[in-house]
Structures are given as structure tokens and as C-alpha cells.
């Protein structure tokens, strides 16, 4: 009969999480960040395959250090229990530099303008290749393999659609509405195409990723569920959001290894609720500011208090950037921490406030420098994100390739120009 030592989801009273995490990291040979995430799990098998005496000894050691565990009989069949990761823990590192990327970015811009936008496809490949190539995992970088010519074709079509929409919207609002509906129908299709294109053109160690989501479920996830969300005045939004993330992750794979998202609805509800509270707070603060300014002076639209009139909308915009960044960080953490591909697990510890600060300061600096800070901003944000991401896997050598398919670039370019972001 074998026994296992199981973590029960909390640390001992009077123990600090950070101190316990430090010990756990050392004990299991993993990084502190990973240990912190592990301590947040409700239940985790720490050690298994032990005799009863060994298990009790181990259990005592864990208790001494503040990790609340209990000894259980090991189940006869492999259980659904999450396992403490084996020794291979790996970090994502970004080695790019702002000054280096600036050269690439500015030459991209110059050539794009000079070629009236044609070069933009090559510029995009160059940009993504820079970020992919400098993102290292176990010493090896990622690859972006897209063919610029395909991207160019997609962009030309996308620009055409955008022009039609802009014209229709400004001068014939009804026509604009019809175009908008058409685009709404187009959106899930474009989303699938784009996910597939980006996945299949991304590779690590010469093994490609893949996305095999189908259009039907895409329409359900990206059209039907958001509609339901709006219908219920936002109550079903977190569920809709979960559906979308699940659609993306569950159909993503690396070689033959598919990924799965295990997050529960309640996890998303928690995040949405926090965001809602922050949003309300923002509105209240804005309202107070407005009232203060109103009483200070009667503002008139023709001859106005110039600085305040301009400052307020920007202030409001920064508040919404803050709220959105916190939201993005939290959902990204949730998705990574509850996704796995076989024995490969992810650990994302992106601090919401930290990330929001990075985005806000990036925004302000980029505005002040009329856009020139942008390359440093991109590098900074990506590096920050990568430095809070790691994974554990038995072996990086163990993955196997699957058959690749060609995908047209159209979907990808369309969602790019419309500014939709749907990365994990």
C-alpha cells in the first residue's frame, strides 16, 4: 500500500506565505514564483509512492515549515489530483532591448511610408520575429514563420473593408449600421482564421503550434454568448468570457500536445466583480472631479478652460486603461495557471497593479514623445509579462510534430487592423 502527502490548500496560522514559499521552492527544486502559485491551489499532491512511515515523516517536515498537509492512501488508479511539478522548471526570458528594437521599428516605419504601406507586411514579420526570437525558453527562442506576401494580401482586403465602414458610418449612419452588422458576422470567422494563422506560423524548436477550432463553436463563443451577456445586462459576461478563452485554449496545441483550460466560472466571476468595483470607483472619482471643476468656474463650450477640457477626457481614458490592464493581468494569470498540456503546466504571476503601471506609464511617455517612446514601451511591456511567466515540464525534448496545414492570412490581418486583441 502506497501513501501520498497532500497539500490542503492553506498554510499554517502565523506562517507567512512568502517564507513558506521560499522553503517549498528549495524543497522541490522549483522557483519561488511557482511555489507561490502552488500554495494557492486548493489541493495538491506533494509527494507520492511512500510507505506510511515515510509519508508521516514527510508530513511532519511539511507541517514544521507551515505547509498544511495530510497523509492519504494513494489511489489505485491515476487520480485527477494535480501533482507537484517535477524538477524541470523553466522560465521565459525576453532578451530584446529598446534601443535595438527602435532601429528595427523606425526603419520599418520609414520603409512602410516610402512604399505607401506595401512594406508593412514585411515590417510585421520582422517585428514579430524580433519579439519571438528574443523570447527564450530553455535557451531556445521562438520562431515566427509567416509569409509576408500572404499578410499583404490580407491587409489590402482589410483596408478596403475598413474604408467602406468609415465612409458608411460618417455620412449614412443607417448604411454604417448595416456594414457594422456585416462585420459582426464576419468577426468570429476572422477570429478562427487569425488564431489558426498565428498558431501555425509559430514554432518552438522547429515544432509548430496549431489551432483547430471550428467556425460553429466560434460563432457560439464570440457572437452568441456575448449577445446573451448583453441581454442579461452583463450577468452572463464572465461565462461568455470563459467560453471564449476555453475555445481558444482547448483547440490550441504544440505539436501533438493539445492544451486544456480548467478554470471554473466562479474564477471569472471573481475577476469581473473586482473590475466592476474598480470601474465604479473610477466613475465616482470622475464625477467628483467634474463637480469640483463645474463649481470652480462655469465652463462654456465656445470659449473654454482649455487645459481642463482637454485633461478630463484623458484622465478618464487613463482610468479605463488602468481598469482594463488590471483585468487583463488577472485573466491572463487565471488562464495560464489553470491551463495545462499533458504534464506541462504554466505559472503566471503577473501583478495587476504592476502591469497597469507599466501600461499607463508607457502610454503617458509615448504621448509625451509623440510616439517615439513606442519601441521602448513595447519591449518593456513584453519583458515584464515574460518575466512573470514560467512553466514546468518533464522534458522540453519530448514533444512531437503533427501535420501542418496552410492557412490564408486574411483573418489575421483583418483582426489586426480592427485592433482586436485576443492573446492569452
Amino acid at each position: 500500500m502506497s501513501f501520498q502527502v497532500v497539500y490542503l490548500g492553506h498554510v499554517g496560522i502565523n506562517f507567512q506565505h512568502t517564507v513558506v514559499a521560499d522553503w517549498l521552492a528549495q524543497e522541490l527544486g522549483i522557483h519561488r514564483r511557482q511555489a507561490l502559485v502552488m500554495l494557492k491551489q486548493p489541493r495538491l499532491v506533494m509527494k507520492k509512492g511512500l510507505s506510511e512511515t515515510e509519508a508521516r515523516e514527510e508530513s511532519a517536515r511539511f507541517w514544521e515549515q507551515g505547509v498544511v498537509v495530510e497523509v492519504e492512501e494513494m489511489p489505485a488508479t491515476a487520480s485527477e489530483d494535480q501533482q507537484a511539478p517535477p524538477a524541470q522548471s523553466l522560465f521565459l526570458e525576453f532578451q530584446g532591448k529598446g534601443s535595438e528594437y527602435f532601429r528595427i521599428w523606425i526603419v520599418n516605419l520609414a520603409l512602410t511610408i516610402v512604399t505607401l504601406g506595401i512594406y508593412s507586411a514585411w515590417a510585421k514579420v520582422r517585428r514579430k520575429s524580433y519579439f519571438y526570437g528574443n523570447t527564450r525558453l530553455g535557451g531556445e527562442g521562438f520562431e515566427y514563420l509567416a509569409d509576408p506576401k500572404k499578410i499583404l494580401k490580407g491587409r489590402l482586403i482589410a483596408v478596403g473593408l475598413l474604408a467602406v465602414y468609415q465612409v458608411a458610418l460618417h455620412f449614412h449612419p443607417v448604411a454604417g449600421g448595416i456594414v457594422f452588422l456585416g462585420l459582426a458576422v464576419f468577426y468570429p470567422w476572422a477570429m478562427v482564421k487569425s488564431l489558426a494563422f498565428n498558431a501555425r506560423n509559430s514554432a518552438f524548436r522547429n515544432i509548430r503550434f496549431n489551432f483547430n477550432g471550428r467556425y460553429g463553436p466560434a460563432y457560439v463563443a464570440f457572437l452568441l454568448w456575448p449577445f446573451l451577456g448583453s441581454l442579461t445586462l452583463g450577468i452572463l459576461w464572465p461565462m461568455a468570457y470563459r467560453r471564449q478563452k476555453k475555445f481558444i485554449v482547448d483547440h490550441l496545441s504544440y505539436g501533438t500536445q493539445p492544451f486544456t483550460l480548467n478554470a471554473a466560472n466562479k474564477d471569472f466571476y471573481k475577476i469581473f466583480f473586482h473590475t466592476f468595483l474598480v470601474g465604479i470607483l473610477g466613475i465616482v472619482v470622475y464625477g467628483i472631479l467634474m463637480a469640483m471643476i463645474d463649481s470652480a468656474s462655469k465652463s462654456m463650450m465656445s470659449q473654454n478652460l482649455p487645459n481642463i477640457r482637454i485633461a478630463l477626457p484623458f484622465l478618464m481614458a487613463l482610468v479605463s486603461v488602468f481598469t482594463y490592464s488590471c483585468f487583463t493581468a488577472q485573466t491572463s494569470n487565471l488562464v495560464f495557471n489553470t491551463s495545462h498540456g499533458g504534464d506541462t503546466r504554466f505559472y503566471s504571476t503577473l501583478p495587476a497593479l504592476g502591469y497597469a503601471w507599466v501600461v499607463i506609464s508607457n502610454t503617458i511617455l509615448t504621448a509625451l514623445t509623440l510616439g517615439l517612446f513606442h519601441p521602448w514601451a513595447s519591449v518593456r511591456a513584453w519583458r515584464y509579462r515574460m518575466s512573470h511567466l514560467s512553466l514546468s515540464t518533464p522534458s522540453l525534448d519530448a514533444f512531437v510534430s503533427a501535420q501542418a496545414e496552410q492557412v490564408s492570412a486574411l483573418g489575421s490581418e483583418t483582426t489586426d487592423i480592427m485592433g482586436f486583441d485576443f492573446g492569452l
Partner: protein, 355 residues
């Protein structure tokens, strides 16, 4: 014989093998395993796709069967490739541009110059061309919507006595005639938050607020303002503004298409500033139109100045006295002091108006 160190990735599994890429004395190349020298690939003639050199990212040499050799030694790879007789791809030119500080500076200067020219000159030109080609029907519809929104939000029905309205409409009539392209007419509304104001709508409707009418001490003052507003209509200023805004937003989006880790919010700043700049230009044009109108009919040009100064003082009073000069850049109307000068110049003002 040149030799580059790196890893062999066969494309079947993610396992990597420490390897070296060597050029063969008899031509072609060989990839051999570092551990024991085993040949993983041999080619008589170089046949592979090489990723462009990009900063210090690893270089990928992709062979036809799907396997690849990846190396951190970019310089070594370049040397080996030229030893193998492979021609420099055009992308190498781009890499050269990025590598030299001089070219980078040149690119920066070129980008700034082009954007400046496009925003300062290209966009207004494009907007003017587009706006001038819009049909009367489109202008009429746009005007309807704008008026509906204004009536719903900031404007309310006029409280001017009917005799006053009738008298003014009569006084205005000569100015409203003689322009078949536009349906010139005057509407009265209570301004509320807008205060003393006059608005020109795209198809020819000019809205006067009660507050403006009540501030005037002579009907010619209002006539002068009407002429200014008609200037806006005739030059299609509001339509040009709409078109310019969309073009500006579109261009800003295209230029910074790859925003990540930043928010598109910052796009607002230069857009707003340029918006304000354009509208100041339009005010100058409308002022000139008013000046010419008054001079042509022998009406005292100081009428415009009088009302403008009075309105400005009224607004200042309500605002608690802001600094007009500093505000000038940020406000949509150029400073009042600047504006009234040509109107106070009497005969010489009129002489200059028609230059």
C-alpha cells in the same frame, strides 16, 4: 573551411542536438553532430532558406525536408553563406539600414518630416477635396442629425419675442439670398451652456443663441456674425472637420498599428491638438469672409469687433478671467484681441481684405 556551432532540430521532435555546420572542401555543406561527428545532413549544393539577420536573435537555416539548423553565431553564418557563394538577399539591405546609426537617424528624420507634411498639408487638402464633392443630400442629412442632437442635449427652444425674431430675419434676408448651393436660413435657440454663440451647420442653417442676440446693441453686429457663420458654411468647414478627423484617426492607427503594452489612448493627444489647429484656421477664414461682406456693403466693420469683444468679456466674467493669450493655442478660437484688429482698422482694413 568554415564552421558554425549551433543546434540541429529535425522537425519531428522537439529534441535538440548540439551540432556544427561546416562547408565542405569539395563544395556544399554538412551538418555534423558535435558529440561524435555523425553527419546529420549533407548537401552537394547549398539548398536552404535562411532567416534574415535580426538584431541578436538566433539564425535559422531551414532545409527542404523540414529540419533546421539554428545558431546564435550570426556573423559566422554570414561568413559561411558567402563562402558557399550564396547571394545577399535584399533583406540584408534592411539589416544594413538598421545597423548603421546614420541610416537610423535618416529614417527617423524622414518619418518625422513625412508625418508633419502629411498632417499639416496633405490631410487638410484631402479633406477639402472630399468635402467639396459631397452632395447636397448628404449635407442636408448630416445637418438634420446634428441639429437633432443639439436640440436634445444643449439647446432649448428660443425665448426671444416673435417681433425680435421677425425683425432680425428681415435684417438678415439680404445676406441669406444669392447662394443657391446652400439652404441658408437662421434659427434661434436658447443657448444654455453654450452661452452667447452662433453655430454654422453643414447645409446652411445658422443657429443664433438668445444670449448672443441679447448681448448685441445693433442689428448690424448680428449681421456681421451671420456673415462669419456663412463663411463657415460656404467653405464647408464642419464637413471638412469631420473628414479630417476620420483621416487623422485612420492615419494614426496605421502608423502605430502594432501597439502592444501601450494603449491607443495616446493617439488622442496629437489628434486633438491638430483638430484645434485646423479649426483656428477655419475661424480665420470665416473672419475674412465676414470682413469682405461688411466692406462690400459699406457696413461699419467695427460692428463685428464690438460684439466679439462684448461676448469675450461676458465669457471671461463667467469664467473668472482666464489668460486669453495662453489659452489661444488650446482654444478653438484665436485670441479675441488678435481677431478684432482687422475689423477695427476702418478703411485700411477693407483695403487689405481684398488682397
Amino acid at each position: 573551411m568554415s564552421r558554425v556551432l549551433g543546434h540541429w532540430l529535425d522537425g519531428q521532435s522537439s529534441a535538440r542536438v548540439a551540432a556544427a555546420l561546416v562547408s565542405r572542401p569539395e563544395g556544399g555543406l554538412r551538418v555534423e553532430r558535435l558529440e561524435d561527428g555523425l553527419a546529420l545532413l549533407t548537401q552537394d549544393k547549398f539548398q536552404a532558406q535562411v532567416s534574415p539577420r535580426l538584431g541578436s536573435t538566433p539564425r535559422h537555416i531551414r532545409f527542404p525536408q523540414g529540419a533546421q539548423f539554428v545558431s546564435e553565431d550570426n556573423q559566422g553564418v554570414d561568413e559561411l553563406l558567402s563562402a558557399l557563394g550564396r547571394p545577399r538577399p535584399w533583406m540584408a539591405l534592411v539589416q544594413a539600414l538598421e545597423a548603421h546609426k546614420g541610416y537610423v537617424a535618416l529614417s527617423l528624420a524622414a518619418v518625422l518630416l513625412i508625418i508633419f507634411v502629411a498632417v499639416r498639408y496633405g490631410m487638410p487638402l484631402a479633406a477639402r477635396e472630399v468635402a467639396s464633392r459631397l452632395s447636397p443630400e448628404v449635407m442636408r442629412q448630416t445637418e438634420e442629425q446634428i441639429l437633432a442632437v443639439l436640440d436634445k442635449t444643449v439647446l432649448s427652444p428660443t425665448q426671444l419675442p416673435p417681433q425680435v425674431q421677425a425683425r432680425l430675419q428681415n435684417h438678415f434676408r439680404p445676406a441669406l439670398l444669392g447662394n443657391p448651393l446652400y439652404n441658408l436660413r437662421v434659427l434661434f435657440r436658447k443657448g444654455g451652456d453654450l452661452g452667447p454663440n452662433a453655430l454654422a451647420l453643414p447645409a446652411g442653417a445658422v443657429v443664433f443663441t438668445d444670449e448672443m442676440v441679447n448681448l448685441a446693441q445693433h442689428d448690424d453686429e448680428l449681421l456681421a456674425v451671420l456673415a462669419h457663420e456663412i463663411g463657415h458654411v460656404v467653405h464647408r468647414h464642419s464637413l471638412r472637420m469631420l473628414v479630417q478627423n476620420s483621416l487623422l484617426a485612420l492615419m494614426a492607427l496605421a502608423v502605430t498599428g502594432d501597439v502592444s503594452g501601450t494603449s491607443n489612448v495616446f493617439l488622442g493627444a496629437p489628434v486633438v491638438l491638430t483638430e484645434l489647429y485646423y479649426s483656428r484656421e477655419f475661424e480665420r477664414q470665416a473672419d475674412l469672409h465676414a470682413l469682405r461682406f461688411l466692406c462690400a456693403r459699406g457696413i461699419k466693420t467695427s460692428r463685428f469687433a464690438d460684439l466679439l469683444i462684448r461676448v469675450s468679456a461676458e465669457v471671461d466674467k463667467k469664467r473668472g478671467g482666464g489668460d486669453q493669450k495662453w489659452g489661444s493655442y488650446f482654444s478653438s478660437h484665436p485670441g479675441t484681441a488678435e481677431r478684432v484688429l482687422p475689423f477695427q482698422a476702418g478703411a485700411s482694413g477693407c483695403a487689405n481684405a481684398f488682397n
